[in-house]
Amino acid sequence: MKNRGRIALASETAETAETVAAGGASAAAPKRSASANIAKFRELGLLAFIVLLSAGVQLRNPSFLTWENINDIATNTAILSILAVGMMLVIVTRGIDLSIGATLALSGMIAALTVKQYPGANPALALLIGVGIGLACGAVLGFLVSKVRILPIIATLGMMNVFRGLTFEASGGKWVSAHQMPDSFKAIATGKLLGVNHLILIAVVIYLVAYFFVNHTRTGRQVYAVGSNPESAAISGIRTGRILGLVYTVMGGLSGLAGVLWVSKFASAQGDTASGYELSVIAACVLGGVSIAGGSGKISGIVLGSVLLGILNNALPMIDVSPFWQNWIQGMIILVAVLVNALVKRGIDRNHLMRRRI
């Protein structure tokens, strides 16, 4: 025991420890997670903004809040938000998918060509074909990103062109227009069930499934884990590659579904359908608070983000904003949203630092 005496610190510190521990506990008690509060605040803010915007537009143009127009906004937003669900998963894993507009066009085109060829076929078949093609496109991307380890931006930029080119190839550069589609096909998007448009129903079902998936399944949480800290995820035995493959495949499948819905809704399939639409989807996600740095994003957020974007797209022409401004406005929305997200994050970090009281 001769060395115990040499460092008498242990006993000294033990005495002071109790008082300090008590102080530490009381200091710790009032702190609530600041970031959680801000996340809540963000959604409320978004909602408030949507209400204000709608009210403002309504004052300028009374035909805005008519049943017809609201329905129009809702059906348009439905497709956007379906895609945003997939994009959110991709962005949560720190990725991005620029190919979804092309995937949408390709699967929409193939589905349209099928129903043109076989007008008697069940529209469910068209849906299946569209989703199947989307899944295949997504799986290719998933493979490139997870197995070959190509940067998502490069992989999706390259495949975007491949898919787009294939769309033109498949159609021979021609359109499939309304009169070539059977009514049963067009009814996919225009039909109603219990008085609610199919598109809205499908979108709601997808929100619910996605909500359950991200919040109540193991795999769903692993998506967030991979985005939050890829190294830890690997150490705790999560198969990162499979998660990445999964999110891109899901994204592809949703794009395929959206493709069929799109073609059915607008009753036309073209080579350049939904060209550049991926940007709106990304805008909806960042507006909804999905962090580009990965690891966070909520279904409720992206739904609100999509609604806001849908309202904007619908409202701008109604208050006589030239359609040529829309590009610019969308870009500014993305930029401002990511900058604000970044600044909020900085504020939170600074708060954490202040709490250290050094």
Binding site: R149, I150, I154, G158, G271, V286, I292, G331, I334, L335
Partner: protein
């Protein structure tokens, strides 16, 4: 400390010399030419080849700074939009009575300013990636072009403006001469100067570079500004060749440019790649397009080919064979 001799001369290795990415490109280049000659009898004609070269060189100007950007480990997908915006502003100013030379100067200034904004945002918001910043400015810049010109075309440039894209000096296309000058300048900047060395350092290890006194922020801003400036140069030549401009010109340029740079052996992980490879890739893709165009391969098929080429170019180094190749 015991004295120890450390060599400062490199041993020449023949194997190392030939195991360079550029040799692979040379082989590919020859292969494409052989294929093209077999595809079409019109291919191997000096005048045709020369004129074809003039057709694809405009985007080659953007390849030069894009090499720097990708070596930095960043990416810029707004370059196509910068081409459109600077071209549209030039046309708009000229049509409102601004003298052409001044309009051209403003075109260059607009390009540089767009690039500077990109660089500034990326440097000030380090938590955002260059992908998302240039993605949003891509939409914004083209958006401004649409606001200015709506859906119209603008043109009626003075006759001499066509010289840029269409004329020859002593039988050599003017655009080729200008490109050669820029290519040499950018190659020199990258491989011989302190600036280039620092760019490589930042691409390989940004933290160590900063700790070594490299002004990383400033370099990044300069590089992105150069990209904007060169996009404006490309706009000058492209507008001259087309004779008029629209807000949707140069759509998809970013893909072509990035594909050329990556095919040229520049690693998307940063820190690796050489200017010569990227320039070779410009001609490789250019002639491939031209040859396929001669046999009526559609523009859409070309899209597929370029897309696949980009994917394969990034895949090769990940394969075992590719790892041996020096870049």
């Amino acid at each position: 400390m015991e004295p120890r001799v450390i060599a400062d001369r490199r041993e020449f290795s023949l194997r190392g010399f030939f195991l360079q990415w550029e040799w692979m490109l040379v082989v590919l280049f020859v292969a494409i030419n052989v294929m093209n000659v077999n595809l079409s009898e019109f291919y191997w004609d000096f005048d045709n080849l020369r004129d074809a070269t003039m057709g694809f060189l405009d985007k080659a100007f953007i390849v030069l700074p894009m090499v720097f950007i990708i070596i930095l480990g960043d990416i810029d997908i707004s370059v196509g939009s910068i081409v459109a915006l600077s071209s549209v502003i030039m046309a708009d100013l000229y049509n409102h009575g601004v003298p052409m030379p001044l309009a051209m100067a403003i075109c260059l200034a607009v390009g540089a300013l767009c690039g500077y904004i990109n660089g500034l945002l990326i440097v000030k918001f380090k938590e955002l990636s260059a992908v998302i910043v240039t993605l949003s400015t891509m939409i914004i810049y083209r958006g401004v072009a649409y606001i200015l010109l709506k859906d119209q075309a603008a043109g009626k440039f003075p006759e001499w403006f066509g010289f840029l894209g269409w004329d020859y000096v002593a039988g050599v296309p003017f655009i080729l001469i200008v490109f050669a000058v820029f290519a040499v300048a950018f190659g020199y900047l990258l491989h011989r100067t302190t600036f280039g060395r620092r760019v490589y350092a930042m691409g390989s290890n940004p933290t160590a570079s900063r700790f070594s006194g490299v002004r990383t922020d400033r370099i990044k801003i300069v590089v992105f500004t150069l990209a904007g400036l060169m996009a404006a140069v490309a706009a000058l030549f492209l507008t001259s060749r087309m004779g008029s401009t629209r807000p949707n010109i140069a759509a998809g340029y970013e893909l072509d440019v990035i594909a050329m740079v990556v095919l040229g052996g520049v690693s998307t992980a940063g820190g690796k790649g050489r200017m010569a490879g990227a320039i070779l890739a410009v001609f490789l893709i250019g002639y491939l397009r031209y040859g396929l165009g001669l046999v009526n391969v559609s523009a859409q098929t070309m899209l597929v080919i370029i897309g696949l080429l980009l994917i394969f170019a990034v895949m090769i180094p990940k394969l075992r064979l590719g790892r041996a190749i020096r870049r």
